[in-house]
């Protein structure tokens, strides 16, 4: 009996040893018993863990989401204020950059042209729809006078019709009361550019023999007012020629978009009208406001 037990013990020891070796040699076998034994334990404990975690999250959420919101609200308000301020600063910077670009164009235009100009900002438009005028922030104090031409690097804007000490009013070329002596660049035919009811312009008194084509450039002829010769007014549109008329006329599409004007140049003097003391380069002109 005892021998049998000893034999069994030997057998059991042998079996356990083989099993141990097998488990050690094949790690894959370790997982199965652990898995089978651990599954209910893990299930039970993980359930508790989940419960505790959910409770902790719930309490934390309650605290953070409701009770502790005072600081978050304050933080949110501060962030909103900061965001609004930054957005405003960004807009201001963009606006400044655009203004800088426009002013640079104006300065380049002034440098490359012989006539004297004065930079002015557009501050308003005509209150009625009967007239097409602009109000600019320069007046007689700065040297602006009635009938001075107003231009941009893109083309002709109009002429000054009222000049107060600090502001002036500019009649646009598209106003029906405006008239500017002009010529067609390609054919050299001369005419008069007037405004129309539609806010466009037309060139009148063109010779019946003039060979007009759509897209021809219309320039100032330099015969009237303070407009130097050769400034762009616009491009030629549809021409109308009637049999019994003495002249022909054509639409002119202005080169300037008057609805988006922000800065303009007032032509204060043409080169040949500048007194010697005021000529560029002369000592008197160094401090002049008209030319930099």
């Amino acid at each position: 009996m005892l021998r049998q037990i000893i034999n069994y013990r030997r057998f059991i020891i042998l079996f356990l040893t083989v099993l141990l070796v097998a488990v050690l040699l094949f790690p894959e076998l370790q997982r199965r018993p652990v898995y089978f034994l651990g599954r209910p334990v893990v299930f039970l404990i993980s359930g508790l863990q989940k419960g505790l975690t959910w409770t902790a999250h719930g309490i934390g959420g309650l605290w953070n989401g409701y009770i502790n919101l005072i600081s978050v609200q304050r933080e949110n308000e501060t962030l909103k204020r900061d965001l609004a301020r930054l957005q405003n600063e960004t807009l201001q910077l963009q606006e400044a950059a655009q203004a800088n670009e426009r002013l640079e164009q104006l300065l380049n235009f002034r440098r490359t042209n012989a006539f004297h100009t004065l930079v002015a900002a557009v501050i308003g438009r005509d209150p009625s729809n009967w007239y097409r005028t602009l109000m600019i922030d320069k007046g007689t104090r700065e040297g602006v006078a009635i009938d001075m031409g107003v231009i941009t690097p893109v083309g002709v804007v109009g002429r000054v019709i009222k000049a107060d000490p600090t502001v002036s009013q500019v009649l646009l070329v598209t106003d029906r009361n405006s008239a500017v002596a002009a010529l067609i660049q390609r054919t050299r035919d001369e005419g008069l550019v007037e405004g129309t009811e539609r806010g466009l312009a037309r060139i009148k008194y063109l010779s019946l023999l003039a060979d007009l084509k759509e897209g021809d450039l219309v320039l100032t002829s330099g015969l009237t007012g303070y407009f130097p010769k050769g400034l762009l007014i616009g491009t030629l549109g549809r021409a109308t020629k009637k049999e019994l008329d003495l002249f022909q006329q054509a639409e002119v599409i202005p080169s300037v978009d008057f609805s988006k004007l922000e800065e303009v140049l007032v032509v204060t003097a043409l080169e040949d009208r500048i007194p010697p003391a005021g000529r560029p380069g002369s000592p008197a002109s160094e401090g002049s406001q008209n030319k930099k």
């Binding site: 209150p127 729809n129 009967w130 029906r176 009361n177 539609r198 008057f258």
Partner: protein
């Protein structure tokens, strides 16, 4: 409204008309806020107040306009007087009626302005002016007038002072 409110509105309205309204212009035609102020004043406060505010606002507009001085005074004073008379005929205006009356008033004052301009400056084709300036402006004013009525006037406790006993109706006693 008292005189200070009128002064404040007058001081604000002209700069708004000459600056911000450009953004809502269609084919260079903008609504006439001054005309709306004159219309509502005349319609709800009587022709004398309408005439007075029309005269003052017209003069202010003339200072800022490129036209001959007096054109806006004439047309806006006429608008004030007319809107006051319209107010005596139409009681308890609705939004649609306001739109129609503003269009009518705008057209009439536009024609007065055209006639005045023709007299002083001359050489405008009526049909062109009507098609490209008068009519679009009148329609624009009408739409805005209706909107102002719906949004502002309807909610205010404004009442025509003569609405209890309209003077132009025959006495039935």
């Amino acid at each position: 409204m008292n005189r200070w409110t009128y002064t404040l509105i007058a001081l604000v309205l002209i700069p708004v008309q000459t600056t911000w309204l450009t953004a809502v212009g269609m084919h260079a035609i903008r609504p006439d806020l001054v005309l709306l102020l004159i219309y509502f004043t005349g319609f709800y406060a009587g022709e004398m107040k309408g005439l007075m505010i029309g005269w003052i606002m017209g003069a202010l507009m003339d200072f800022f306009s490129g036209g001959p001085f007096g054109l806006q005074i004439a047309s806006k004073a006429a608008a004030g007087l007319l809107s006051g008379l319209l107010g005596r005929f139409f009681l308890n205006a609705t939004g649609a009626l306001t739109m129609g009356l503003v269009v009518l008033l705008s057209l009439i004052t536009g024609i007065i302005g055209f006639w005045f301009h023709q007299l002083v400056v001359g050489e405008i084709h009526f049909m062109e002016a009507f098609r490209w300036t008068l009519l679009p402006e009148a329609l624009y004013n009408g739409v805005l007038g209706g909107a102002v009525f719906w949004v502002v006037i309807r909610r205010l406790p404004v009442r025509q002072p003569w609405s209890e006993s309209p003077p132009f109706l025959p006495n039935v006693d």
